[in-house]
């Protein structure tokens, strides 16, 4: 949203990088919102799937051109994820647990 900046200092991204081994990981972003965090970690991962309950947010995440080819987003309930067992290396809950 124009006029709103979320963590422009990228503290969250730096701290995640320091504590989490991402390299080549298949990541699930649960409660992905508009794809903000997926976008910021895109350079470290193999692929990412984002899910959120809100279709409007998922639409914004889809619209992020920089994520084309490595990310896909879907409307889904985190308490009933539409994925097979043992299919991801890492699950992110950013303000969503």
């Amino acid at each position: 949203m124009k006029g709103v900046r979320v963590d422009p200092e990228r503290r969250e991204t730096r701290i995640i990088r320091r504590h989490v081994p991402f390299d080549g990981a298949r990541v699930l972003d649960i409660g992905c919102g508009d794809g903000r965090l997926s976008n910021r970690i895109r350079g470290w991962i193999d692929s990412i799937v984002g899910v959120d309950l809100t279709g409007e947010d998922v639409g914004r995440a889809h619209a992020r051109k920089r994520l084309e080819g490595i990310a896909r987003f879907a409307v889904a309930d985190a308490s009933c994820l539409p994925f097979h067992d043992r299919s991801f290396d890492l699950a992110l809950f950013s303000w969503s647990l």
């Binding site: 963590d7 969250e12 504590h19 994820l81 290396d89």
Partner: protein, 143 residues
């Protein structure tokens, strides 16, 4: 979201990690000020704290319990944990109010704080509103 952590563990490979990032409001500290989000007005390099956003902490304590239960059930083990300050910036009071309604709908701003915020912005229309939230990052590993 009570089952979300359980579902995340189901779809993770053994040894896979859960990264849990959320506001850090530890009631046990008994420090209400620390537990609240702080609202600042920034004009150039001058920064003044003008308000707090207060809320009930039930949601976050519920998440704590969900994690504790998953640990007790030997579903996950806890790993690295750190706390940092997460910042949001708003170019106007209107944007601040709109986002507050979307993101922090359970938070309230005391009347006196609200007046101080409005007065400060009245004196400095170019001021930026900054909201600081203490946030914790915890890494959990699926067993």
């Amino acid at each position: 979201m009570g089952h979300a952590l359980h579902e995340a563990c189901r779809v993770l490979k053994p040894g896979g990690r859960v990264v849990d990032i959320r506001p850090y409001f530890p009631a046990s500290l008994g420090n209400r000020r620390h537990a609240r989000q702080q609202v600042y007005c920034q004009v150039a390099h001058e920064v003044n704290q003008v308000a707090t956003l207060a809320r009930e902490y039930v949601d976050f304590h519920f998440a704590d319990r969900v994690v504790a239960e998953a640990v007790a059930g030997r579903e996950i083990v806890t790993g690295a944990r750190t706390v940092f300050v997460f910042r949001h910036y708003f170019d106007s009071l209107e944007l601040f109010d709109r986002c507050r309604a979307m993101w922090w709908d359970k938070a309230h701003i005391p009347v006196a704080d609200r007046r101080l915020l409005e007065r400060t912005l009245g004196r400095h229309p170019s001021a930026v509103i900054r909201v600081d939230t203490p946030v914790q990052l915890q890494v959990l590993t699926k067993i």
